[in-house]
């Protein structure tokens, strides 16, 4: 199977999600998938639209970066977005995932499913990045719980599960992994000086991620 992985490189939080996309690319390849990667400045509408058309066999479109309620922003702040409600493009029969990306489930999710996507997964609210802090590597945890979603989705699809089954299980596994890290941070509130923030960030990253599944 084939996936398109789009990862802009705009400012510090998207520099980290870009690195996360590197890990996603490795994960997909380890499961035998072909990966079309759109790096940094390739995340323009014209390039993305061409990739969708040229790689019509890509079943998964993964976007990791800056987004708004109506679009995956790509590399141009204030631009038309690479995938937007006013130009959903060729998403028929595909799985669209905006994870991690802010707000895209508010409007873009329904728009892509209305246009024929089999599923859309994204967040109703803003999503947080995470960093390596002095007392703990929160970035590694963020990578782990985000990749838990993708790992679950990919392995279910490889096993022949339906998109609904695969998406629902991936969301469940993702949320359980977020909860694991939230509990870990709560247990270390007294000794990890930034853990209070990451409890909040992890909760937000967990609670507002939803799926639209046809």
């Amino acid at each position: 199977m084939k996936a398109i992985v789009a990862s802009p490189f705009l400012w510090p939080p998207t520099h980290i999600s870009y690195t996360l996309a590197d890990e996603l690319e490795k994960l997909l390849k380890s499961f035998g998938w072909d990966v079309v990667r759109l790096h940094g400045p390739q995340n323009l509408r014209v390039v993305f639209s061409y990739a969708l058309k040229y790689h019509s066999d890509a079943v998964l479109i993964a976007y990791l970066g800056h987004a708004s309620p109506t679009m995956f922003m790509g590399e141009e702040i204030g631009g038309p977005g690479i995938l937007a409600v006013d130009n959903v493009g060729d998403v028929k029969e595909r799985i669209i995932v905006g994870l991690p990306a802010c707000l895209s489930a508010q409007k873009l999710g329904q728009a892509t499913v209305n246009a024929g996507a089999k599923a859309f997964v994204g967040s109703l609210e803003e999503m947080y990045a995470a960093w390596v802090e002095q007392e703990h590597d929160y970035m590694a945890d963020w990578f782990d719980y985000t990749l838990t979603f993708y790992r679950s989705l990919i392995s279910s699809l490889n096993a022949g599960k339906t998109v609904r089954e695969a998406s629902e299980k991936a969301l469940k596994d993702y949320k359980e992994r977020c909860t694991y890290y939230m509990e870990l941070y709560k247990q270390n509130l007294e000794t990890w000086q930034n853990s209070d923030f990451y409890v909040h960030a992890c909760r937000q990253n967990r609670d507002f991620v939803i799926g639209f599944i046809r």
Binding site: W11, T14, M127, A129, W131, D196
Partner: protein
């Protein structure tokens, strides 16, 4: 006594971040319009400062108060995608 002045700014623009929560060893203040929070502290004390704003990476430092006025800039990085 001494004064510990923590000034909170957006690292990418240099703009002050008013209303940010600034904590020094459990005492919480809200930064003013200029981004500053001023604590009265004992000279020679070591204070753990935490700065929290929902849109920015958390910021924490330990500072020893070695003068009657200690100024600490807290430049926050954006945390949201």
């Amino acid at each position: 006594m001494a004064r510990l002045v923590v000034t909170v700014r957006d690292a990418s623009t240099g703009a002050a971040l008013p209303y940010t929560h600034v904590e020094a060893d459990g005492v919480v203040l809200t930064a003013g319009l200029d981004g500053a929070a001023v604590f009265e502290v004992a000279l020679g004390a070591t204070k753990t400062i935490k700065v929290r704003h929902t849109a920015f990476r958390p910021w924490s430092r330990s500072v020893t108060i070695m003068a009657e006025r200690v100024e600490v800039p807290a430049d926050l990085e954006k945390a949201l995608l």
